[in-house]
Amino acid sequence: MLELTGLSRRFGATVALDGMSFGVARGRVVGFLGPNGSGKTTAMRAVFGLVGLDGGEVSWDGRRVGADERRRFGYMPEERGLYPTMKVGEQLSYIARLHGMGAGEAAAAARQWSDRLGIADRFSDKVESLSLGNQQRAQLAAALVHRPDLLVLDEPFSGLDPVGIDTMSEVLREEAARGTAVLFSSHQLDLVEHVCQDVVIVDRGRRVVSGTVEELARGERPVLEVRVAGDPTGEWAGALGEAGEVVGNDQGTLRVLVAPGRSQQVLDVARRGGDVEMFAFTRRRLSEVFRQAVGQVPR
């Protein structure tokens, strides 16, 4: 299990990490969410020692992370990086060998991951000749080629087409099923909800919310979807008071975060507004959890 404990880091006057703590268990896919500048990338880089820490510790299975542990980790940085003039297959083999694989094993793994990620036909091409999407796949292959115990991916879905997103999602789930701990950051909240089992939300260098997707969707307060005939803007909700809080409006269907034990009161208010066409409990969306956690729309 990966554990980040009390990480802190300042860059001049800017606080990038302010005692951030969370864990990623083996076999779990963890979505790492937060507004821009909230410290996600700094925390991920800290796992690999790419940024010095002012305080805190990164550990793996209870041991402080060092060079030996990192050899068993896979990393996909936010700013993609491969040798532009090196061939895809050779590059994957090279990275696999840096992680401790033998020559034959590395070559076989490079071939296997190229097949799996749909870039087998570009195996002997230089990276610079690949489309951005295929470069992204090659980058993911570079993170996976040595079968890591921990996979850390910074914005892995950005720039991918729908097919690429499906492939990436499948691979992450497969790796987690194999026992790999997977941590990835993303601003695509629906995707995170779809792919992840756990979520960590950070803001201003600190963890603000974490839990399983189910726990977060359920939340402490239920969500009601309510539609009142002839009121597409949801004016009726103005009379809710402390009974509930409108967190969304989908073409007249309001999503109302209900105060504990006040759902009947919400129904009464809706009836006073007109004919109630819809009144049903529903899950909280991750985007709602996120907005509530960071107190704003994603930056």
Partner: protein, 388 residues
């Protein structure tokens, strides 16, 4: 692993093949040129003064033994012979049974001229002949002090730089300067490519910066060593094929000194060039960041060129011991006979100390710069930072 990748990727590049070809050609030209400049060997004129027996047999034997064509010129007396020698109308004067005269005795550290070699041979042979013709009591005494006649110079001994030494020194300076700059810039570009493509972030997730830097300079260094070996091989092959004196006498020692200087120079500059490449984000800044490294190399090159064609002053002698300039200056000074072997050894020792110090600083700069993005990092900031 890192070194192997550097070698494979560099060796594949067209620029490497072209550079190797050009360097090998330059070496071949450098070796063959002195022979070509010497032109066809003309017979040496040897003034012969009197003698108790015909000198022609001694001269013929000496010419054959040294491979030097010669033409005897009869001189009426010693005074006339000395005058002819002083005016360079003859290359040496032979006084059978007495002595052999040269315009000037050769410098002990320099390669002797053909006339000097011939003079030694004549002196030796005629001395033996004189010894045998003398009566027994003298034989014993002569054997004790050696059979050779004395070889004396008309004018005081003076250090000279032959055309061959000058050309060797010049070619060596050009090659060392070009090679160090070429490989240095190769390292700068390689480090910068890894930084600008951000692949360094993936690499440093597994490696320490010092490991990456070491692998990079080691790989490039092995490539450099291979190219150097090819050049030395071509130098000797071309020298033997052309009969060039560049691979005879003291020249192999100059080549050995140059090879040592190249290795030491590479060790000194490799880490600094790589660290410079890691300091900038934009390719356009590469020239500016490497300029302070190129300046001492260029100064060394200028001094080495000067040493090849004239005697250098005190500044040149000081630069011969400073690690940034010594690798370029030393071979030229050595070839010109202005740097004794012990001074060269001292210079190498200082360079090795410099290599250690510079490598440490460069590693710190590299480690703190290679992951830095944004505005260019100043050297002071780079030295004061540390990511791990």
């Amino acid at each position: 692993m890192v070194a192997r990748r550097e070698i494979r990727e560099s060796a594949r590049s067209r620029s490497f093949a072209v550079t190797t070809l050009l360097l090998v050609l330059a070496v071949a030209v450098g070796v063959v040129l002195p022979a070509a400049l010497a032109g066809s060997t003309r017979p040496l004129l040897v003034g012969v003064v009197g003698g108790r027996y015909p000198a022609s047999a001694v001269l013929a034997q000496a010419g054959r033994l040294t491979g030097t064509p010669l033409t005897p010129v009869e001189e009426p007396d010693l005074a006339r012979a000395r005058s002819e020698l002083d005016q360079d109308r003859v290359s040496l004067v032979f006084v059978p049974g007495k002595e052999v005269l040269l315009p000037r005795l050769p410098d002990p550290g320099a390669t002797p001229s053909s006339a000097a070699v011939l003079a030694r041979a004549i002196a030796q042979l005629d001395g033996e002949r004189a010894l045998l013709s003398n009566v027994p009591p003298q034989v014993a005494a002569a054997l004790e002090r050696g059979a050779a006649l004395p070889v004396r110079g008309l004018r005081p001994q003076q250090r000279t730089t032959s055309l061959k030494a000058r050309v060797t020194g010049f070619v060596t300076a050009v090659l060392i300067y070009a090679l160090l700059l070429s490989y240095g810039m190769r390292l700068t570009n390689s480090a910068h490519e890894e930084k600008s493509s951000r692949v360094v972030e993936v690499l440093l997730a597994t490696l320490r910066p010092s490991q990456l830097l070491l692998g990079k300079v080691l790989g490039t260094g092995l490539l450099f060593g291979g190219q150097l070996a090819a050049m030395v091989a071509v130098a000797f092959a071309a020298g033997l094929a052309s009969g060039s004196a560049a691979v005879q006498g003291a020249a192999p020692a100059v080549i050995a000194v140059a090879a040592i200087c190249l290795l030491v120079g590479y060790a000194f500059y490799c880490t600094t060039f790589a660290a410079a490449g890691a300091m900038v984000n934009r390719q356009a800044d590469l020239f500016n960041v490497t300029l302070p490294i190129q300046i001492p190399l260029f100064v060394g090159y200028i001094v080495a060129d000067a040493a090849s064609f004239s005697s250098v002053g005190a500044l040149g002698r000081v630069l011969a011991f400073l690690p940034p300039t010594a690798p370029v200056v030393d071979p030229a000074l050595y070839a010109a006979g202005e740097l004794p072997l012990w001074q060269f050894a001292l210079s190498v020792a200082l360079c090795v100390a410099g290599v250690v110090a510079v490598a440490r600083l460069a590693t710190v700069v590299y480690a703190s710069s290679v992951l830095h993005t944004g505005p260019r990092l100043r050297l002071r900031s780079a030295l004061g930072r540390g990511t791990r």
